[in-house]
């Protein structure tokens, strides 16, 4: 019953606060790719993997009053902060979610910036390609972000580190 909603709420809860829609999208995508059972589907968009379903889920959770969304002006754009509300916590207490290693992974991701997570998620999106092909993709599709080879290498190392945390290796 509403398990997909509960999983996303659990992710928000263990993260404490998630700042930015892009960051939230990338955190859930990366978690899903390292085998946590999130059900939302992702496709490649301007900023890398993006899920319309996750956007919808978050809107629903905000409308239901389970997740609080704070919109704040930052420079030339708006930024959103997400936290779980008390009624969200109460809902979760009725719907047990077991993802024991998720908290470690999400906490780590939450401490990274959105730009880096965008790169990590893009590398994971093309995980069926060779490293050279992935670099080519990053340089072509993400030219505006001007990622360097060293950053891409760092993204690969970070993915391995996360997989370790998720106890997959």
């Amino acid at each position: 019953m509403l398990k997909d909603h509960a999983r996303v709420m659990h992710a928000v809860m263990v993260s404490g606060e998630i700042i930015g829609r892009k960051k939230l999208q990338k955190m859930i995508y990366i978690a899903k790719k390292i085998s946590f059972p999130f059900q939302e589907r992702f496709q490649f968009h301007f900023y890398g993997p993006y899920s319309e379903e996750l956007t919808l889920r978050m809107e629903e959770l905000c409308n239901m009053g389970f997740v609080a969304e704070v919109r704040e002006k930052k420079g030339g754009y708006f930024q959103y902060r997400y936290t779980l509300t008390d009624s969200g916590k109460e809902f979760l207490s009725l719907n047990t979610i077991e993802m024991p290693f998720l908290e470690d992974c999400l906490t780590d991701m939450n401490s990274q910036n959105a730009r880096f997570l965008e790169l990590v998620s893009t590398v994971l999106y093309f995980d069926n390609l060779s490293k050279e092909e992935v670099m080519d993709k990053v340089f072509t599709l993400k030219s505006s972000q001007r990622y360097t080879e060293a950053e891409i290498e760092e993204a690969y190392n970070y993915i391995n580190c996360l997989k370790e945390k998720a106890k997959l290796q």
């Binding site: 019953m1 629903e60 030339g76 708006f78 093309f126």
Partner: protein, 432 residues
């Protein structure tokens, strides 16, 4: 003559109820249509379980794929050809991507993919890039051509214009399915002046734009999309059928994992149950095979599996009631407990289903939402986002509509031969 330039001696035409005729002159398109992977789409319904609500909705992904190809062919041959922003060498890439964009869809895609955690887009890529007849045809153009087609469909190509023809807020995919689904379901929504829209489409560097004079035709398209979603795609009866379908697949998988001895061995499903699906296994499965198993599983000893299959095959679907998760989640927990007491497994017989649609979204700079908006080309050459010009579109822009329903088997709840009092409590909570 290069294979890419080869034309058929005589143009072939497919009679089509939506576009009247689908014209094929390029050898490569004709060869792709003849591949077994493309022919398989004849055995996958376009609208999944909707035929249980709208009995005419028996049309297939094959019909739709040809339709999308035909729309794109008309755009590139009749509207874009000769325009400086359009590169003629992209024509075949665009036509192939249009024809093959749904190639990886499986039987009853939505539910099936959810249950087995699959994505038809991955299979589209796998078919195009794998050892398939489709790949052989595409490779005859150039060894890199399959990859280029796959990248357009996956939206990871750097050619944004070609991507936008097949996947954007006003693309050939939507223009075909709205009209085709309206035709086959028999509803009066879904109609708009496509000819007009095609005539006013113009290629730009990164996307297709619409001449301002075509704005009202686009408004009509967006409104018909809005109506089709709520009248057809999210019809609560079809959603109820989807609920049963996915619960059957869940139950069959569960039983398999429990080493249940099936009377009718689900051999076509083994790799799906074991999460080891090969492309070969995937391509073998179609809706006829799934329905065969549902027919046979009615005879299984497992009461839940046989009951759910019987409900699907004989269209004895669950009833539903409106459900507000924010206000009623405690009631749902209570119902869950009562269902268990009544001996009716809530995992299979008490299901919340949610649907949601965003009819049109504009671009908010810096935000992750990022649907590319529809741009109007003004007389002075300036581009203006559609909702800034159209009051009709502005009224529904960025407004998402969501609907939650709670599904349950009313016949089991009204059967007072056992657990009468508990069932009475359930009926009272459900207000039935």
């Amino acid at each position: 003559m290069a294979y890419s330039a080869e034309k058929l001696e005589e143009e072939k035409v497919f009679k089509d109820p939506v576009h009247r005729y689908i014209h094929v002159k390029d050898r490569v398109i004709w060869d792709l249509i003849g591949t077994k992977e493309f022919q398989r789409l004849r055995r996958i319904r376009q609208l999944g379980t909707t035929f249980l609500t709208f009995h005419g909705a028996e049309h297939s992904r094959f019909n739709h794929s040809l339709g999308v190809y035909e729309i794109v062919r008309r755009i590139v041959d009749d509207v874009f050809a000769g325009r400086p922003e359009w590169k003629e060498e992209e024509r075949l890439l665009t036509l192939c991507a249009a024809l093959l964009h749904d190639l990886g869809h499986g039987p009853f895609s939505h539910s099936f993919e959810k249950v087995f955690d699959l994505d038809h887009e991955d299979f589209t890529q796998a078919i195009i890039m794998g050892e398939t007849e489709v790949n052989k045809v595409l490779t005859r153009i150039h060894k890199s051509f399959p990859k280029r087609v796959a990248e357009v469909i996956a939206k990871t190509s750097d050619n944004k214009l070609v991507i936008s023809l097949i996947s954007s807020q006003i693309d050939a995919d939507r223009m075909d399915y709205l009209q085709r689904d309206a035709y086959f379901t028999g509803v009066s929504y879904g109609h708009f002046d496509m000819e007009r829209i095609l005539r006013v489409m113009r290629p730009q560097k990164d996307q297709v734009v619409i001449k301002k004079s075509g704005m009202h035709a686009v408004e009509d398209y967006i409104m018909s999309r809005y109506q089709m979603y709520w009248q057809v795609y999210f019809h609560p009866v079809s959603r109820g059928a989807e609920v049963i379908l996915s619960k059957i697949l869940h139950r069959a998988k569960y039983l398999y994992k429990q080493n249940y001895s099936f009377k009718h061995q689900p051999q076509h499903f083994y790799s799906f149950f074991n999460d080891k699906v090969t492309l070969e296994d995937y391509l073998k499965l179609d809706e006829s095979i799934i329905l065969y198993y549902f027919q046979m599983w009615q005879e299984e000893e497992d009461e839940i599996l046989s009951d759910l299959c019987s409900r699907f095959v004989n269209r004895n679907l669950f009833k539903f009631t409106e459900f507000d998760p924010a206000k009623e989640y405690k009631k749902l927990a209570e119902l869950n407990t009562l269902f268990i007491k009544a001996g009716i497994d809530p995992e299979y017989y008490l299901v919340v289903d949610s649907s949601s649609d965003l009819p049109y979204d504009f671009y908010r700079p810096g935000e992750e939402g990022e649907r590319l908006p529809i741009h109007l080309l003004m007389k002075n050459g300036e581009l203006r986002e559609l909702s800034r010009e159209s009051e009709v579109v502005d009224a529904i822009s960025g407004k998402r509509r969501t609907d939650h329903k709670l599904y349950f088997p009313v016949d089991l709840l009204k059967d007072d031969s056992s657990k009468k009092n508990i069932k009475k409590q359930i009926c009272s909570l459900l207000d039935i």
